[in-house]
């Protein structure tokens, strides 16, 4: 804001010939107006209501003589307790804003509520602010209703339609639900005090919840329920209070202070009384679930236990395994031992075969053969040697034989000796010599009667043989030669 204070002050002090710019004027207006209308209550009728997509509410407030633009920004609009509509009388609280670009002013509304009779509405608003300031309207104060009240207190007119409706619905939902009615007036001046008294009486008599109710009516009829003392009596009630006053759009202070606001007596009955059949059904369901769960707790365990028992494996398979194992081990041992025995047997057979091959009989036989052979050769040698030597001697004897004179004599030869001297030629003797002739047996003394030196006594012979003239003697030697 560029307007200087001095200039602004001058604006209202005097009229100056100098023209203001629009901005200056607007600025001056804002400075002049906005601080004064920072928090104002304005009542009027809603017109031209538009709801932006952003949530902002734009409308006009008007009365017989004037009209002002108003806006509720979306953030506030969402918090409004009711939905405004065209033609509705409302009480708006907010500030005046001048918006320079449009050259317009508008009311920026913070709170908006339906407006009763004009002056009373402002009083009512003040009461609300007061109660709010005291915290009586604090949502945290709101108490929950008992789920199933042992006795329901009702503060209302005993003859009104509201009580009738309430009881009808209440007992339709929960037949026989105890109800204690505290009669009071619900309209007209002083009604609020009787309602408050009824409340206190009910609290004294002992109820779990109190319903304050009356049927719908004019704003004036309901005005007693905006009474501050009644509000404080409700707030002071030790048990939760349900208000069901007028119709849904009629919000009274009693409604605000009550723990729960019901739109109608029927609604109040619904809030206060559960449906007995539903409860019973719920209980039944719970009991069914309870039984199911308990049964399941047992049955499930039984299943588990059965499974576990099944898993509790009978050790017989283990025993069987072990039997196999023992059998295998023993069989292996037996096979090993039998193998060993077989191997020993084979080894023994092999050694025996080797032993058999070295059996000395062959060697003995070889020696026997050699010995026999040597013996045979010994025999052969003996035979050959003696044969040879005999032959040799025979041959020698044969060769000796011709030299045997005796043999010649036996064959007829004779030896002629002259004076002990052997004669070989006839010329060695002369006629008349005395000679001795040696024969094979005995001697002959003879005398030479003739000598023949010219003729051969043994024709065919080349070598002179025996000296004897008798061929018979020579024959004798030859004849006997084989007999030696």
């Amino acid at each position: 804001m560029a307007v200087r204070p001095g200039e602004t002050g001058d604006l209202f002090a005097q009229v100056k010939p100098r023209a203001l710019s629009v901005s200056e004027l607007t600025r001056a207006l804002r400075v002049a107006v906005e601080p004064r209308f920072k928090d104002v209550w304005v009542s009027g009728e809603v017109a031209n209501l538009r709801r932006q997509a952003s949530g902002h509410l734009y409308f006009s407030l008007k009365d017989e003589g004037a009209c002002v633009n108003a806006v509720v920004w979306g953030s506030q609009a969402r918090r409004l307790a009711f939905a405004p509509a065209d033609g509705q009388e409302v009480l708006a609280r907010g500030f005046v804003e001048i918006y320079p670009p449009h050259g317009k002013y508008q009311l920026v509304v913070n709170e908006l509520e339906p407006r009763g009779a004009g002056a009373q509405a402002v009083l009512l608003q003040r009461l609300k602010e007061k109660l709010l300031a005291e915290g009586l309207l604090d949502p945290a104060r709101k108490r929950p209703l008992p789920f199933l009240p042992r006795r329901v207190g009702v503060a209302t007119s005993p003859t009104g339609a509201a009580l009738r409706d309430l009881l009808r619905v209440l007992h339709a939902r929960f037949p026989g639900l105890p109800v204690l009615v505290a009669p009071c007036r619900v309209q007209g001046a002083g009604a609020a005090a009787t309602v408050a008294g009824a409340l206190r009486s009910l609290c004294r008599a002992g109820v779990d919840v109190v319903v304050v109710t009356r049927g719908g009516g004019s704003q004036e009829d309901l005005f007693e329920f905006n009474d501050e003392r009644l509000a404080r009596a409700i707030a002071a009630c030790p048990v939760p209070v349900v208000s069901a006053v007028g119709h849904e759009i009629d919000v009274t202070v009693a409604d605000l202070v009550a723990d729960v606001r019901a739109a109608t007596p029927t609604h109040a009955a619904q809030l206060v009384a559960p449906v007995k059949d539903e409860l019973r059904a719920g209980l039944q369901a719970s009991r069914a679930r309870l039984l199911r769960a308990a049964s399941e707790a047992v049955a499930g365990r039984r299943r588990e236990l059965r499974a576990l028992k099944a898993e509790l494996s009978d050790p017989k398979h283990l025993l069987s395994e072990q039997r196999h194992r023992l059998d295998d081990l023993l069989r292996r041992a037996e096979a090993l031992l039998r193998g060993r025995l077989r191997a020993e047997r084979d080894a023994q057979d092999a050694v025996k075969a080797r032993l058999g091959r070295r059996e000395p009989r062959a060697r003995v036989r070889e020696l026997v053969a050699r010995s026999e052979d040597a013996t045979r050769r010994l025999g052969s040698w003996q035979a050959a040697t003696f044969r040879r030597e005999e032959l040799r001697l025979e041959r020698l004897k044969a060769r000796l034989a011709p030299a045997n004179v005796a043999e010649s004599l036996k064959r007829g030869f004779a030896l002629a000796l002259a004076g002990g001297k052997l004669l070989r030629r006839s010329a060695e003797a002369a006629q008349g010599d005395a000679l001795r002739l040696a024969l094979a047996e005995g001697w002959l003394d003879v005398v030479v009667t003739g000598v023949d030196a010219g003729s051969d006594p043994l024709p065919g012979r080349t070598r002179p043989g025996g000296a004897g003239p008798e061929s018979g003697g020579g024959d004798a030697v030859e004849r006997d030669s084989d007999h030696d």
């Binding site: 009808r168 008599a205 719970s286 309870l290 769960a293």
Partner: protein, 93 residues
């Protein structure tokens, strides 16, 4: 008959325990049972407790057979409940 720790030893009969508290306890018991993680013996105990709670809740539902009354002011200014003529007629039926 030991009661769970959070409701120590109350005699429920005629006790002031509200119906919904009973039902809540019953629901809790049911829930605990349904979770199935209780030991068997505790389950049975819970079940017994549930049965008692259910019985008590039923009793509470059934016992509420009373009439509609209206406070009547006596001569001495005291008040006392009296049967509501004409009003309770419908609620009773």
């Amino acid at each position: 008959m030991s009661a769970p720790a959070d409701h120590p030893g109350k005699d429920l009969e005629g006790s002031g325990e509200p119906y919904d508290a009973l039902v809540a306890r019953l629901e809790r018991v049911v829930g605990e049972l349904e979770r199935g993680d209780l030991p068997l013996e505790a389950s049975i105990e819970k079940f017994a407790e549930g049965v008692r709670l259910a019985r008590e809740a039923t009793r509470k539902l059934d016992e509420a057979e009373r009439r509609v009354e209206v406070l009547v002011r006596n001569a001495d200014g005291s008040e006392e409940p009296a049967p509501l003529e004409g009003g309770g007629g419908k609620g009773n039926g």
